[in-house]
């Protein structure tokens, strides 16, 4: 197992961990979005989906702990790499210009920490029910937890929509660099594919942003209401 420790301790091995955990979290972002979009199927579809997730029982906890572990490893590896990066230039430049880099690529630590902070807020809102608690305890006519009601009520608050949209912009900026970096870090780089990968990073990040933001936007502007249609 010596070689495995050596790999994880190395710069490239640690970057590889960033890439693999990053793409796993990207997979979660896609899966979560596809679940969320059930809101457009009305209260029954949404609440039934929520029940089916709960019914996974122990498997749900395996998934949750796996996700949590992935997040912690992603953040832990980022912290380690970032500390090495700051240590590598003890005396800063008086003048420094960026020549080819994008703002997204230079701010991965900040965008990542912001997404992490928002995730905690998001859990406090919709999973733990600490925020807007009164909307989180509702039950629908079949006796199920009324997730649909909680989401619609939540996104009828302008500040909740505002925070959500800002967080999704930052998530998209993070993904825009993360997706194309995944390929480079694991060694996939080819002149035929590079422009496609670069554009797909932007394209996929934009699609994810639009997909997520469609939910609070349609709720806030009354296109989706408590009766399942326009309110």
């Amino acid at each position: 197992m010596n070689w495995l420790f050596r790999l994880f301790r190395s710069s490239i091995g640690c970057k590889g961990i960033m890439a693999l955990t990053g793409i796993a979290l990207f997979g979660f972002v896609i899966a979560h979005l596809s679940g969320n979009l059930l809101i457009f199927g009305g209260p029954d579809a949404m609440n039934a989906y929520a029940v089916s997730l709960r019914e996974l029982g122990p498997l749900l906890w395996v998934m949750r702990l796996g996700l949590l572990a992935t997040v912690l490893v992603h953040i832990g590896a980022a912290m380690r790499l970032t500390r090495q990066n700051t240590d590598a230039r003890p005396v800063p430049y008086v003048r420094r210009q960026n020549v080819a880099s994008t703002a997204a690529s230079r701010s991965m630590m900040m965008t990542g920490l912001t997404v992490a902070a928002y995730t905690v807020f998001h859990l406090a809102h919709l999973t733990w029910g600490f925020i807007l608690h009164d909307f989180a305890t509702a039950v629908d006519d079949q006796g199920r937890h009324d997730v649909y009601y909680m989401v619609v009520k939540g996104f009828q608050q302008w500040w909740m929509v505002f925070l959500y949209v800002v967080a999704m912009v930052i998530l998209a900026v993070h993904l825009r660099h993360g997706i194309s970096s995944f390929f480079q870090t694991l060694g996939f780089n080819h002149p035929r594919w590079n422009p496609i990968l670069e554009k797909s990073g932007i394209g996929v990040a934009t699609l994810i942003f639009l997909g997520y933001v469609s939910i609070p936007a349609t709720v806030f502007f009354g296109l989706v209401g408590l009766d399942g249609g326009g309110s």
Binding site: W3, G13, R89, P191
Partner: protein
Amino acid sequence: MDFKLHVWRQKDRNSEGRMLSTKVEGISPDTSFLEMLDILNQRLIEEGDEPIAFDNDCREGICGMCSLVINGVPHGPERGVTACQLHMRSFQSGQDIYIEPWRAKAFPVVRDLSVDRGSFDRIMAAGGFASVRTGGAPDANAVPIAKEQADLAFDAAACIGCGACVASCKNASAMLFVGAKVSQFLHLPQGEPERKRRVLKMVDQMDEEGFGNCTNTYDCEGVCPKEIKVRVIAEMNREYLRASLSHDET
């Protein structure tokens, strides 16, 4: 042309450095950047001051000794050239010009603008070679190499080891340099026998020297005077991961 220069002055490795300002006047637009510094140094010597120490050698853009960060960009504002191939016509008369050394923990300042790039030498000594018995010179084309592969090896081997990639990187990462030196062997049959050992040793030495890590921002590609592409970093990543997972030695 006249310029207001702000130059990093540092007595030795252990001293604190600072930016000092001075004026140069009557410079021809066809003066190279290093010649402009020569003119300034001549004046400093005549005035009884210490001349500004800076690294230089061939002044033809091929030796890799130039190491000036000019207005925040390694080798200055022109793309694909070293500082010695930069001319004052690239600036405007009266302009402020900031001149700093490469800044990285692995490149300690020796004096003023001169840095110690021994870390690059140690990375090369760790594995940047092909240890074969050469014997007599083989016949031309005795070892067939596809043109495309030869081109890839040659493009990587164009690296002159100046360290501008490290200087430009926000993380002071040396991965463009090490990637180029891995790639120049990777595409040739002569590099094959030591393929795994080479990349493992070079990357480990790179980590030990205290360089930062690549975050795929690609400023290095933008400043490289030999226009080395970041595909060499992907090749190094691929080779390192492959070698780590499959190397026979411990």
